[in-house]
């Protein structure tokens, strides 16, 4: 399941819903991304996430589909927020449930790595020097490239 929303989500509720009633699931791996108060040695007072409505949902659905084609998964979940977020707030949740822990871990890691390089979101950080668009990181490209090798 994918969701793109401005409002916060309840981490416990979301994870619980993924496994409830499915006793074939042996492992649930999840990752939550949070707004940090610092970036590149500058204090961040808030962050605004812009996205491309329509394409965002298509990109996330494609990422989820890719995960299911690569691993044997019972459930996957991607929730990504947009709008203004303050330090400590949840930005994104990705999770994968499977009979086996290896698949759950790898799929979850894959979901966030792909999301970071494919899903059309952009972060604008409020710093003491004004608003700054976050630069894409080479390390994110490297992180996703290791999944391409597995194709």
């Amino acid at each position: 399941m994918i969701r793109v929303q401005a409002v916060d989500f309840d981490l416990g509720d979301e994870l619980k819903k993924m496994t409830d009633g499915n006793t074939g699931i042996g492992g649930l791996c999840s990752f939550v991304g949070l707004v940090r108060d610092m970036a590149n040695d500058e204090r961040i007072s808030a962050m605004t996430l812009e996205h491309y409505p329509g394409m965002t949902e298509k990109a996330l659905a494609e990422i989820e589909k890719q995960a299911h084609s690569r691993w044997n998964l019972d459930e996957t979940l991607i929730i990504h927020r947009y709008g203004r977020l303050e330090p400590g707030e949840q930005i994104v949740l990705v999770a994968a449930a499977s009979a086996h822990r290896g698949a759950a871990f790898e799929a979850c890691h894959f979901l966030i790595d792909w999301l970071k390089t494919k899903a059309p979101f952009w972060k604008l950080e409020d710093t003491p020097g004004g608003g700054k668009w976050v630069d894409a990181r080479t390390s994110d490209d490297e992180a996703v490239s290791r999944w391409n090798k597995l194709n």
Binding site: Y52, L115, K116, P120, W133, D135
Partner: protein
């Protein structure tokens, strides 16, 4: 066709979107970029370095040589930074 701009590309261009009839002689994304740069300095700033801009046509990533036609939704934006 509809053109969308996001993040600092949007700020440079000065608007989030615009409707346009496919200009004479424009057949690909790179043709469109070249044409836009002749219209206003905002586009020149936005497309000063093509390598810094990503393109989607009808919400799919494409290369600069991708062909375009009048009904298309074309989006320009920086490399993504969500997650």
């Amino acid at each position: 066709m509809k053109i969308l701009y996001f993040a600092w590309v949007r700020e440079a261009v000065g608007k989030p979107e615009e409707d346009l009839n496919l200009p004479e002689g424009v057949a690909s994304v790179s043709d469109l970029v070249a044409w836009l740069k002749q219209q206003d300095t905002g586009y020149e700033t936005a497309f000063a370095n093509n390598a810094a801009v990503r393109v989607a046509v009808n919400q799919e990533y494409v290369d600069l040589d991708h062909g375009i036609s009048n009904g298309d939704e074309i989006a320009f934006f920086p490399p993504v930074t969500g997650g």
